[in-house]
């Protein structure tokens, strides 16, 4: 608003222009880096998929021909099918259980102020830093002390414990970003705390809850260390693969791997659609 009578003139700084050659070199270097990175990430998966259709037991070049035999064998392998079924059962139950405990825990951490809150927050998140071996052994000891028989259910409890940290951190991060004024506005407009939670808080953390759930599912699905200690007679899919791998990689395993990649892709697409937030 206020302007002095004489405006001092400031010379515009001279911008150094990069030459076309320099820019081309920089762009090429960057693109090459990205290409190498993508190759590093995805070539192993392509190899897995290709060999699952290869008409030979040995995993060597050149490819000998196309076959669906390994997929047919999968179809007839009841042990493998049981393992897949077990993995789905464990991952689903562990996810539901961890969400049921984790979401309220995150809300409590966000909303309530109580002595020892910081300690509680650290304790909830700590298991994420513990190696699975430690979680596995300690839970095994606990179940022994309590006299539980090892089974898929003990695996579920173990996974749910280990995954709690994932859910709490994800949901907490979202709650931190949710303006406090939204809940206040809801109360101001006549809503009770429960009504506010259902109609305001939950819809706004929905995508974080779904995301944490999917991540938990995937982590539980391919978990080995905790499962190793806590399972009874039943095997999950990664455990089954691990045990057959001792006799070498078979094309059947490649076929399972390909199916899992396909399933993961479907999950990812579902996750993207479900968690697509409206712009704020």
């Amino acid at each position: 608003m206020v302007m002095t009578l004489s405006t001092p003139r400031v010379a515009a700084p001279v911008k150094k222009k990069r030459s076309v050659v320099q820019r081309f070199a920089a762009d090429t270097a960057f693109m090459t880096f990205v290409a190498i990175l993508m190759a590093f990430l995805y070539i192993p998966i392509w190899i897995l998929i290709i060999f699952s259709f290869n008409d030979s037991r040995s995993l060597t070049w050149p490819l000998s021909g196309f076959t669906l035999e390994w997929y047919q064998r999968l179809w007839n392998n009841s042990q493998l099918q049981d393992a897949i079924g077990n993995s789905f059962y464990v991952a689903s139950c562990a996810t539901v259980l961890t969400l049921l405990v984790g979401v309220p825990a995150a809300l409590a951490l966000h909303r309530l102020h109580f002595p020892g809150k910081t300690v509680f927050r650290r304790l909830v998140v700590l298991p994420i830093t513990l190696p699975g071996v430690v979680t596995g052994i300690s839970m095994l000891n606990l179940f022994r002390v309590l006299g539980f028989d090892l089974s898929l259910e003990t695996v579920i409890l173990g996974h749910a414990t280990a995954l709690l940290a994932v859910v709490v951190t994800q949901v907490s991060a979202r709650l931190e970003r949710l303006p406090k004024s939204l809940e206040e506005a809801s109360a101001d407009l006549g809503a009770t705390q429960i009504y506010t939670f259902i109609h305001i808080t939950l819809p706004n953390i929905r995508s974080a809850v779904i995301g944490a759930g999917l991540l938990s599912f995937v982590l539980s699905f391919d978990e080995i260390p905790v499962t190793f200690f806590l399972t009874g007679r039943d095997n999950t899919l990664p455990m089954y693969i691990y045990s057959t791998m001792r006799r070498g990689v078979t094309p059947e395993i490649n076929a399972v791997g390909t199916l899992i990649v396909l399933f993961s892709l479907i999950l990812i697409v579902a996750a993207v659609i479900a968690t697509r937030d409206r712009k704020h």
Binding site: M1, V2, M3, T4, L5, P179, S181, L182, E184, A185, S186, A187, D188, L189, G190, A191, T192, Y195, H199, I200, P203, N204, R278, K279, H280
Partner: protein, 364 residues
């Protein structure tokens, strides 16, 4: 007119040393527009949040329409708030946002529909009913937040720095719009702001706050023309302050020696000759005298700086004793260079006795 809301010795202590609100008592009349004005940290927002029910007072009581609501939770108080960040629910449409508080009032669908339409037409955004908040501009969100709060017909509408997120031009426009809206709906408004222009433009009454206490309250022109302390004089508008001494008290006239001369102020005073005081006056009440012209309370000085701000000139004049006096003058015509006194030029200023404030304390 009866008081719709009364604050009775309201206090909020965060700890024994941190006092946000200190023993505040005032009442708001039915239909009045009251502004709580003060710098950040003066307790004005805490006070508003206590009225809304978002903070519990440490002491004192809040009476709303004759009922003690001090300990009622927000959802049981017949007041509504417009939040600084608007707090529109991002997952709901404009219509759902406005209808939210009506659904909770257990109104039926048709009643809600009619009320939402009415509120939207009040703020001129009927066509936005199915849009989401992220599709609206800042000014439109502001209007929707207003509509959402007003549609419940609260006894008092609370506004927490409602215009602070808008750019300067839009803010000026919304000030008037809010004022007109207030006249139309007839609900009492309590607004918090740190912007003195906003307070002067919109309010029937301004409550100036300082460190959790009420420094002064009154109509905008009372505060502007009769500030009771250098704090208020400094916060509302610009004021020149000069150290001075009482020379003589003569009934309702007080002679004051300041900047090497003696000037006269009017009004009864409890002060006596020899008392050290601070003299205050507004830059636009000072007149630069032309050669040969005489005026009341002449103070000599020397031009130290000239600032042009479009509408006029602000001269900074150095006076005896080391003080600086700002003089604002509007430019009646195009600025001719010859009319501007050059820096270093001696001038005489005139000031009418009625425009001089006397304060016991200095400027903080």
């Amino acid at each position: 007119m009866a008081s719709i809301i009364e604050l009775d010795r309201l206090s909020k202590h965060y700890s024994s040393s941190i006092v946000a609100v200190d023993n505040v008592t005032f009442a708001v009349e039915d239909g009045e527009f009251v502004t709580l004005l003060g710098p950040s940290g003066c307790g004005k927002s805490t006070l508003l949040r206590m009225i809304g029910g978002f903070e519990d007072p440490t002491d004192g009581a809040i009476w709303l329409a004759g009922k003690n609501v001090t300990w009622d939770p927000p959802h049981r108080r017949d007041v509504n708030m417009v939040f600084q960040d608007y707090a529109l629910f991002p997952h709901m449409t404009v219509g759902e946002n406005i209808g939210y508080g009506l659904k909770l009032k257990k109104l039926n669908r048709t009643e809600i529909g009619t009320s939402v339409q009415g509120a939207l037409s009040l703020v001129g955004l009927e066509d936005k009913i199915d849009q989401h908040p992220y599709q609206l501009s800042g000014g439109q969100r502001q209007r929707i937040a207003l509509a959402r709060a007003i549609v419940r017909r609260p006894k008092v509408l609370l506004l927490d720095e409602p215009l602070s997120a808008l750019d300067a031009k839009l803010r000026g426009q919304m000030q008037l719009e809010l004022k007109h809206l207030h006249e139309k709906v007839g609900i009492s408004f309590i607004m918090v702001t740190h912007d003195q222009t906003e307070a002067l433009v919109m309010s029937d009454r301004v409550v100036v706050m300082d460190s959790g206490r009420v420094a002064q309250e009154g109509s905008p022109n009372l505060l502007y023309d009769n500030p009771n302390s250098p704090y208020v004089a400094n916060f509302i508008g610009t004021t020149n302050f000069l150290d001075a001494q009482i020379a003589r008290v003569d009934g309702d006239r007080t002679r004051i020696s300041v900047a090497g001369v003696e000037i006269e102020a009017v009004g009864e005073t409890h002060r006596r000759a020899g008392d050290a005081i601070t003299v205050g006056f507004r830059p636009e009440k000072v007149r630069i005298l032309k050669d040969g012209e005489t005026g009341d309370n002449e103070i000599p000085g020397e031009i130290a700086e000239v600032v042009y701000y479009g509408l006029g000139l602000r001269l900074s004049v150095a006076v005896q004793g080391g003080g600086r006096v700002y003089v604002d003058s509007l430019l009646p015509d195009r600025l001719a260079d010859s009319q501007v006194p050059p820096v270093g030029h001696p001038v005489r200023m005139a000031l009418s006795s009625g425009n001089i404030f006397l304060f016991d304390e200095g400027v903080a």
